[in-house]
C-alpha cells in the first residue's frame, strides 16, 4: 500500500478527474465553452458581426452530439452506475437520457427564440448565455449525487431563469414577475439550505449514499423509542421537509406554486416554455434522485426483502408489554409497513415518509392546478396552472417509483420509464403550445383566450395543431398524451396499497376535470364566431413549419408510441441496481 502523501492524493484526484470524470462531462463542458465564446466574442474586432444565434445553436448541437452514447443506445443496457468527481455527480443511464432530452429541448428552444424574435441582435448574446447557463444548471441538477451539487444545480438553473423572466425590457408586468420570482426563489432557497444543513449536521455527510448509510445505521424504529431519539427524528423530518420546499419551488408544486402563474403571465411565452419543460424535467429527476439516494442503499435491494421485516416486527413485539405513546408509534410504523407497501429494510421509514410527502403534494398540486385553471382568461396563465397540474401528475410517478423500489426493482423501473415517457412527450406538447402562443402574440398582440375566437377560419393549421396539442394535454387517445398518463396509472396500480390507490383515483378524476378548460380553448378557436375587428392571421412559413415539426410527434407517437417507450425502457434498464 502506498503511503498517504499529499502528492499521492493530488495524483489520484487528477487521475480521477481527467481519466474518469471529464469524458462523461463533455456535453456540459461544451455548454461552458459556448457560454464563454458567446460572452467574449464581441471583445474581438469583427466579433459583433457573428450572430450569437449561430454560436448558440452550434454549441448546443455540439453538446447534444457529445451527449449521445458513442457505442449506441444498446450500450445502455449494460452501462454501470458511476460516480464522477469523487462522488459529486453520478453518471448512469438516467443522467445520459435526461441530458439528451434537455439538450434536444435547448436546440429546439433556441430555434424558437430566433423565430419569434425574442432574442434580438442586441440582447442575443445575453439571452443565449442565460439559456445555456440555466441548461448547464439543469444538467447538474439531474445528475446530482451530493447535497452541495443539488443546491448548486438548483441555483444555477434558477438564477438565469430569474433574469430570463424579466428579459423583455420596459414592460412593467415582466419586471414585476422577475422580482417576484427572485424573492420567492430566494426565500425557498434559504429554507432549503437550512434543511440541507440540518440533514448533513445529523448525518455527518452531504454525499447522498453516505447519508443513506448513516440513516440506516441510525436505525430509526429504535430511535423512536427514546425521547432523545425522537428529537433526532424530528430534526431529520424537518430537514427533509425543508429540502422538499426547495424542490417543490422548482416543481411549482402546491403550496409553493404562488410564483408560477404571475411569472408565467409576466414573462414571455418562450421563457414559459423553457420553465415549464426543461426546468420541470430536471426538478423531477432531482426529486427522484433524492428519493432514491436517501431511501435506498445497496443493502436495501429487494433481495434483502425477506430477511428484514421480522427484525422490525421483533422490535415492536418487545415493546407490547409497555404500550407507551412511543410504542404505539413504533407499532404503527411496523404495521403500516404493509399498508403503504414500501418494502422492508432499515430505510423503509425514510421511503415511507418520502412517498407520503410526495403523494400528498402531488394530489394537491394536480387537483389545485386543474381547478384553478378554470376561470383563467389569459392563455399563459391557464397554461401555468396546467403546468402545475402536470407536475403533480408526474410527481405521482416518482412516488410510485420509490414505493416500488423497495419491493420490486423491475416494477420500479417501469414507473421511472413512465415518468421519462411523460417528460419526453410533455416536451412536444408544451413547447408547441407555447410556440403557438408566442407566434400568435407576434401576429395579433394579444394573449387573451377570447381573442383566439374563430381562429380556425383565418389560420386553420394553427388552430388544428393547437387543438391537437390541447387534446393531447388532456390525455385522450389517439394522441400522444394518453400513453404516459396510462403508464403512470399502471405504475400506481402496481404500487398498490390504500395510499397509492387513493392517488390513483385522484389522478383519474383529475384527467376528467382537466377536460373542461382545455376544451374551452379549443371550442373558442374552432366554434366561436370570429370577431370583426381582427385582420388576417398568418404565421409565415418558418414559424408554421416549426409548429408543424414540433406538433406532429404528438400525432405520430400517439399512434406509434412503441419506439419511444422502448427507448425510455432502455434508459431505466440499469436503475436501482
Amino acid at each position: 500500500m502506498q503511503p498517504v502523501t499529499l502528492q499521492n492524493v493530488v495524483d489520484s484526484l487528477v487521475d480521477n478527474t481527467l481519466d474518469m470524470s471529464l469524458p462523461f462531462f463533455r456535453p456540459e463542458l461544451a455548454l461552458c465553452a459556448t457560454i464563454v465564446i458567446l460572452l467574449f466574442v464581441r471583445i474581438f474586432k469583427g466579433g459583433e458581426y457573428i450572430p450569437s444565434f449561430f454560436i448558440a445553436i452550434l454549441g448546443s448541437i455540439t453538446a447534444l452530439i457529445l451527449a449521445f452514447p458513442a457505442e449506441g443506445f444498446e450500450s445502455w443496457a449494460t452501462m454501470p452506475r458511476q460516480e464522477l468527481f469523487t462522488g459529486m455527480l453520478v453518471y448512469d443511464t438516467l443522467t445520459a437520457f435526461i441530458r439528451i432530452f434537455l439538450l434536444s429541448f435547448v436546440v429546439l428552444f433556441i430555434i424558437l427564440s430566433r423565430l419569434t424574435g425574442i432574442a434580438d441582435a442586441k440582447d442575443g448574446q445575453d439571452y443565449y448565455a442565460l439559456v445555456l447557463g440555466a441548461t448547464l444548471g439543469m444538467c447538474i441538477m439531474s445528475s446530482a449525487n451530493h447535497m452541495m451539487m443539488l443546491f448548486m444545480g438548483v441555483e444555477m438553473a434558477s438564477v438565469p431563469s430569474y433574469v430570463l423572466a424579466g428579459i423583455v425590457k420596459g414592460r412593467q408586468r415582466s419586471s414585476e414577475a422577475a422580482l417576484k420570482y427572485v424573492i420567492y426563489g430566494a426565500g425557498t432557497a434559504g429554507v432549503m439550505l437550512y434543511g440541507i444543513s440540518l440533514l448533513t449536521g445529523v448525518l455527518g455527510s452531504a454525499h447522498l449514499p453516505t447519508m443513506a448509510a448513516s440513516l440506516a445505521d441510525l436505525d430509526i424504529p429504535n430511535l423512536l423509542t427514546t425521547a432523545e431519539g425522537r428529537l433526532t427524528v424530528m430534526v431529520l423530518v424537518l430537514g427533509g421537509l425543508m429540502l422538499g420546499v426547495g424542490l417543490a419551488f422548482k416543481l411549482s408544486a402546491v403550496p409553493f406554486h404562488f410564483w408560477c402563474p404571475d411569472v408565467f403571465e409576466g414573462a414571455s411565452a418562450e421563457v414559459d416554455a423553457f420553465l415549464s419543460v426543461a426546468s420541470k424535467a430536471a426538478a423531477l429527476v432531482l426529486l427522484l434522485r433524492v428519493g432514491a439516494g436517501l431511501g435506498l442503499t445497496t443493502a436495501e435491494l429487494p433481495v434483502a426483502d425477506s430477511a428484514d421485516p421480522p427484525r422490525v416486527i421483533a422490535v415492536a413485539a418487545n415493546e407490547t408489554t409497555a404500550p407507551t405513546q412511543n410504542a404505539v408509534l413504533v407499532k404503527q410504523v411496523a404495521d403500516s409497513q404493509d399498508a403503504t407497501h414500501v418494502g422492508g429494510g432499515p430505510l423503509s421509514p425514510v421511503r415511507r415518509f418520502f412517498v407520503i410527502l410526495v403523494s400528498l403534494i402531488a394530489i394537491v398540486s394536480c387537483t389545485f392546478g386543474n381547478l384553478a385553471a378554470y376561470g383563467q382568461t389569459n392563455i399563459k396563465r391557464m397554461l401555468a396552472y396546467s403546468t402545475i397540474a402536470h407536475a403533480g401528475f408526474m410527481m405521482m410517478a416518482v412516488a410510485a417509483a420509490i414505493a416500488l423500489a423497495g419491493r420490486d426493482v423491475v416494477d420500479a423501473r417501469t414507473a421511472v420509464s413512465a415518468l421519462l415517457l411523460y417528460i419526453t412527450l410533455y416536451l412536444f406538447m408544451n413547447l408547441s403550445a407555447f410556440a403557438i402562443v408566442a407566434f400568435l402574440r407576434n401576429e395579433m398582440h394579444s394573449e387573451d383566450i377570447a381573442d383566439y375566437a374563430g381562429l380556425i377560419r383565418t389560420s386553420p393549421l394553427t388552430a388544428v395543431m393547437m387543438t391537437a396539442v390541447l387534446v393531447s394535454l388532456i390525455g385522450l387517445p389517439p394522441l400522444a398524451g394518453f400513453w404516459p398518463k396510462l403508464r403512470v396509472l399502471q405504475a400506481l396500480y402496481m404500487a398498490g396499497g390504500p395510499l397509492m390507490t387513493f392517488v390513483l383515483v385522484a389522478a383519474a378524476l383529475n384527467t376528467a376535470i382537466a377536460l373542461v378548460y382545455y376544451l374551452r380553448v379549443a371550442k373558442t378557436m374552432c366554434i366561436d364566431p370570429e370577431p370583426d375587428t381582427r385582420g388576417a392571421v398568418s404565421l409565415g412559413f418558418l414559424p408554421a413549419a416549426f409548429v408543424f415539426v414540433v406538433s406532429v410527434p404528438v400525432l405520430i407517437f400517439g399512434i406509434l408510441p412503441g419506439p419511444l417507450a422502448n427507448w425510455t425502457d432502455l434508459a431505466v434498464s440499469q436503475l436501482f441496481s
Binding site: 420567492y184 409553493f256 404562488f258 400528498l360 378554470y374
Partner: protein, 800 residues
C-alpha cells in the same frame, strides 16, 4: 451494363417518376405558381424524365446486349416452296417447316409482395422483354409530346375565372368557375404512372390493378368538364362499359388461377433458388416443343367442370370422337380463360360489342383524346392480348380475329358519315384497333404489335392536329370548317402526313413508304396468308382490304372538309389562326415519327421479333375446331401472298382517296345528293348502326325498371317499417327523458358541474398577487405540511 440489374431499375424509375409528380401535385398543386401553372411544368418534367430513362433503357441497355435475329427475309427465299405447300393446306408439312421458337430474352422478378394466400401470390413485379422496352419508349415519347402540347391547349384553365361556353345555367348565363389547370396535369401524371404499370407488370393480377387505375384516370379525364352534362354521362358510360369487360377478365383470371395456380408471366427464382414456373412455361412446356399443352391442373379442373367425362359434353362443338388423335382435355378451360382475358381487352380497346364508349369519350379535352383514347390506353387491350399471346388457344384466337374484323368494318362505316372531327378520328381509332386484334387473332403477332406502335404515333398526331384546329375555330363540327390550309399551314400539312400514314401510303412492292404502309401491309399479308390455309374463313381475308378502302375515304374526306375548298363559315375562318409554338412543336415531332418509325433502318420490326412470344412461330391447329389452322407469321412473307396482298392494299387505298377527292375536292358529285339517294343507308350509319338505341332498350331500360321497382319497395315497405319503429322508440325515450333523465341525472350532473366550476373560481382568489403574502405562504406551507404529514402518519395510514 448488366441488363439483368439495370433494366428493372431504369424502367422502375421511369414508372415511378410520374407517380411522384402526381403526389406532389395532389398535395401542393394549388400553390405551384400563379393558379397552378407550376404543376404543368412539373408534370412535363416528370414525363420527359421518364422518356429519358426509357430511351436509356432502350439504346443504352437493351440494344447493346441483344442482337437482332438473322434477317428472316433470306430465310424465306430459301423456303419458298414451304409457303406453296402451306397454301395447299398441308398441315403436317408446315409443322415441320419451322422449328418452334423458345422463350424470348426476358427479365422478370418481384419488387414487393402484397400477400400470399395459399399458393396465390399477389406481387408487384416486372416482366421485361423487347416489347416492354418498346412500349415504354412509345408511351413516354408520345406522352411527352402531349404533355407539352397540353401546356398550350389548356391555357384557358389558367384564368381565375374560366367561362365554360358549353354550359348554360338556368339564368341563361354561361358557367363561371375557377380554372383547373393543375388538376388536369395531376390526372395526366397518374395516368402515365398507371399505363407504365400495365406495361411493366410481371403478373396478371398486377396488370388488373393498373388496368383499373387507367380506367379511373380515363373516367376523371373524360369528365374533366364535369359541369357539361354530356361529359359526365360520357365518363359514366366509359367506366360502366369497361366494367363489363373487366367482369369477363375476372372470370378469365379465376379460371387461370384455379387451374394453373400462378399469375406470373415468366419463370423466376424464389428465395430458396428454386425456379417457379410462370404461366408461359406452364402452358407451353419445353417437353412438348413449346406447343400449347394444358397442364394437369387444368385438365383435372375441366373434368370436374364437366362432371367426370370430358368428352360427353365437349362433343357438341368439336368432334373428339371422329378424330381420336385430337384430345380436348383442358382445351375448353383454356378457351374460357383466353376469351375471358380477351373480354377485358374488348372493353378497354373498344372492340365490338363494347365499342360504344370510345366516341363519347371525345368529350374530354383533346390532349386526353390523343394520349389516352387513341395512342396508349385503348392500345392497352391490344398490348395485353400480345403479352398474353402464348396462353390463347387457336379457338380463342379465332374469336379475337372475328371480333377484330367486325369492329374494323362497323367502325369504318360509321366514320363515313360523322361530321364531328374528333368522332371521325375516334371511329378510326376503333377501326384501327380492330385491325390490330384481327392481326393478332390470325397469328400475326409482330404485325399487330408493329401496327400498335406506328398507329400510336400517327393517331396521336392526328388528334393533336384536330385539337389545334378546334383551338382555332372553337368548334368540333367539320361542316363549319374548310379552307383552313391557308390559315394554319403547319397543322394542315402535319395532319396530311398523319392521313397518309394511316391509309398506309407507300410505293407498292417496294420498301419505301410512311410508317402505316409497313404495318398495315403486314396485317393484310397475314390475313391473306390465313385465308389461304383456311378458305372457310375467307371473310377475314377481304374485310381488312375493304376496311383499307373505307379508311382512305373517310380520312381524306376529313382532311378535305377541314383544310381544302372554300371556308363554309367566314366568321370562324377570319378568327382562325395558327396555334402557338408550344402546340405546333409536338406536331412536327410526331409527324417525323409518323413518317419514319416504320422504316426498316430503324429495326422496329426486328426489335419486336426479338420479343416474339414462346412457341408462336410454328403453325398451330385447333383441338376443338379441327380444321382451323393458325399459320406461322413468316409464311406471310412469301411472294405468293405478299405481292397480291400489297397490290390489293394499295389499290383499295388509292380508290378510297380518289372517291373522296371526287366528292369533296373536285365536287364532281354533290354530297347532299348522295345523302338523299342513299337515305336509308345514310340514316343507318348516321345513327351508328343504332347500337346506342339497341343497348338502351336491351340493357339500360330493363335495369332502370328493376331499379325503380326496388326503389319503390325500399321507400314504401322497408322505410315505413323503419319509420314506425323509430317513432315508437322516440316516444318511449321521451317518456324516460321527462321522468328520469331531466330530473335525476341532469340535476346531479349540473349540480356537480356548477360546484366544480365555483370551486375553481374561488381557488383563483387565493392568487392575490401580493408578494408579501406569497413569502408568508412559504412559512405557512412548510408548517402546514409538517402538521399534515404528522397527522397522516399517525392516524390515516391504516394499521393492519
Amino acid at each position: 451494363m448488366d441488363p439483368d440489374t439495370t433494366l428493372p431499375v431504369l424502367l422502375m424509375a421511369a414508372w415511378l417518376v410520374p407517380l411522384a409528380s402526381f403526389v406532389l401535385i395532389v398535395l401542393f398543386g394549388k400553390y405551384m405558381g400563379p393558379r397552378g401553372i407550376g404543376a404543368g411544368y412539373l408534370s412535363v418534367l416528370a414525363i420527359v424524365t421518364s422518356a429519358i430513362f426509357s430511351l436509356i433503357a432502350m439504346f443504352g441497355v437493351w440494344l447493346p446486349n441483344h442482337d437482332f435475329p438473322a434477317a428472316h427475309e433470306s430465310e424465306h427465299s430459301s423456303s419458298t416452296h414451304d409457303g406453296a405447300v402451306v397454301s395447299a393446306t398441308d398441315e403436317s408439312h408446315s409443322k415441320d417447316s419451322h422449328s418452334n421458337n423458345p422463350h424470348p430474352d426476358y427479365y422478370t422478378g418481384d419488387w414487393y409482395s402484397l400477400g400470399e394466400f395459399g399458393t396465390l401470390k399477389l406481387t408487384i413485379g416486372y416482366y421485361i422483354d423487347s416489347l416492354t422496352v418498346a412500349m415504354f419508349c412509345m408511351v413516354s415519347v408520345i406522352a411527352s409530346c402531349v404533355h407539352i402540347y397540353a401546356l398550350g391547349y389548356m391555357h384557358d384553365e389558367l384564368h381565375e375565372q374560366f367561362v365554360d361556353h358549353e354550359v348554360t345555367l338556368s339564368s341563361g348565363e354561361h358557367l363561371h368557375r375557377k380554372g383547373r389547370f393543375y388538376r388536369f396535369f395531376q390526372y395526366l401524371s397518374l395516368f402515365c404512372f398507371s399505363m407504365f404499370g400495365i406495361v411493366i407488370a410481371g403478373n396478371v393480377a398486377m396488370v388488373f390493378v393498373f388496368w383499373e387505375l387507367v380506367g379511373i384516370c380515363s373516367y376523371f379525364l373524360i369528365g374533366f368538364y364535369i359541369e357539361r352534362h354530356s361529359a359526365s354521362t360520357a365518363a359514366n358510360k366509359a367506366f360502366i362499359v369497361n366494367r363489363i369487360g373487366d367482369f369477363g377478365m375476372l372470370i378469365g383470371m379465376m379460371a387461370l388461377w384455379s387451374s394453373v395456380g400462378t399469375f406470373a408471366f415468366g419463370d423466376m427464382k424464389n428465395e430458396k433458388g428454386e425456379v417457379e414456373q410462370g404461366l408461359f412455361s406452364l402452358l407451353r412446356p419445353e417437353e412438348s416443343e413449346y406447343q400449347l399443352a394444358p397442364p394437369a391442373g387444368m385438365i383435372a379442373e375441366q373434368k370436374r367442370m364437366f362432371a367426370g367425362d370430358p368428352n360427353a359434353s365437349a362433343g357438341d362443338a368439336a368432334t373428339p370422337a371422329i378424330d381420336p388423335k385430337r384430345n380436348t382435355q383442358g382445351q375448353w378451360l383454356l378457351f374460357i380463360a383466353g376469351v375471358g382475358i380477351f373480354c377485358g381487352c374488348v372493353g378497354k380497346s373498344a372492340q365490338f360489342p363494347l365499342h360504344v364508349w370510345l366516341p363519347d369519350a371525345m368529350e374530354g379535352p383533346t390532349p386526353v383524346s390523343a394520349l389516352v383514347h387513341s395512342a396508349t390506353m385503348v392500345a392497352a387491350g391490344v398490348y395485353l392480348v400480345g403479352r398474353f399471346y402464348p396462353c390463347f388457344s387457336p379457338e380463342a384466337l379465332l374469336v379475337i380475329a372475328y371480333v377484330g374484323c367486325i369492329t374494323l368494318f362497323i367502325a369504318a362505316t360509321i366514320a363515313i358519315t360523322a361530321t364531328d372531327i374528333k368522332r371521325v378520328l375516334a371511329y378510326s381509332t376503333v377501326s384501327q384497333l380492330g385491325y390490330m386484334m384481327l392481326s393478332l387473332g390470325l397469328g400475326g403477332w409482330v404485325a399487330g404489335m408493329f401496327h400498335l406502335i406506328t398507329h400510336a404515333f400517327f393517331k396521336g398526331l392526328l388528334f393533336l392536329c384536330s385539337g389545334s384546329v378546334i383551338h382555332a375555330v372553337h368548334t368540333n363540327d367539320m361542316t363549319f370548317m374548310g379552307g383552313l390550309r391557308k390559315k394554319m399551314p403547319i397543322t394542315a400539312y402535319t395532319m396530311l402526313v398523319g392521313c397518309l400514314a394511316i391509309i398506309g401510303a407507300g410505293f407498292p412492292l417496294s420498301v419505301y413508304g410512311l410508317s402505316g404502309y409497313y404495318s398495315k401491309d403486314a396485317i393484310i399479308e397475314q390475313a391473306w396468308s390465313f385465308g389461304s390455309v383456311n378458305p372457310q374463313h375467307a371473310i377475314l381475308k377481304w374485310a381488312p382490304v375493304a376496311g383499307a378502302f373505307i379508311t382512305a375515304f373517310y380520312m381524306f374526306r376529313l382532311w378535305y372538309m377541314t383544310f381544302a375548298g372554300q371556308p363554309s363559315d367566314p366568321h370562324r375562318y377570319d378568327h382562325a389562326h395558327e396555334s402557338p409554338r408550344v402546340m405546333t412543336g409536338p406536331l412536327i415531332v410526331l409527324a417525323a415519327f409518323a413518317i419514319g418509325i416504320g422504316w426498316p433502318i430503324f429495326h422496329v420490326n426486328d426489335l419486336l421479333e426479338q420479343g416474339r412470344p414462346v412457341g408462336t412461330l410454328s403453325a398451330t391447329h385447333g383441338e376443338l375446331l379441327t380444321n382451323l389452322t393458325i399459320p406461322s407469321e413468316h409464311d406471310s412473307h412469301v411472294p405468293l401472298i405478299k405481292i397480291p396482298a400489297g397490290i390489293a392494299a394499295f389499290c383499295t387505298a388509292l380508290a378510297g382517296v380518289l372517291l373522296a377527292s371526287i366528292i369533296y375536292l373536285w365536287r364532281l358529285l354533290n354530297p347532299d345528293e348522295l345523302k338523299e339517294s342513299f337515305k336509308p343507308l345514310y340514316g343507318f350509319l348516321w345513327n351508328k348502326w343504332y347500337f346506342d338505341e339497341l343497348y338502351n332498350y336491351l340493357f339500360v331500360k330493363p335495369t332502370l325498371i328493376v331499379s325503380h321497382c326496388a326503389a319503390w319497395f325500399d321507400r314504401n315497405i322497408i322505410d315505413s317499417i323503419l319509420h314506425t319503429s323509430a317513432a315508437i322508440c322516440k316516444a318511449c325515450s321521451k317518456v324516460v327523458d321527462a321522468l328520469f333523465d331531466q330530473t335525476v341525472v341532469d340535476g346531479t350532473v349540473n349540480t356537480l358541474a356548477s360546484g366544480t366550476w365555483g370551486l375553481g373560481l374561488w381557488l383563483r382568489k387565493i392568487q392575490t398577487g401580493s408578494l408579501r403574502q406569497y413569502v408568508m405562504f412559504i412559512v405557512i406551507g412548510t408548517v402546514a405540511l409538517f402538521v399534515t404529514i404528522s397527522i397522516v402518519q399517525a392516524y390515516f395510514i391504516p394499521t393492519s
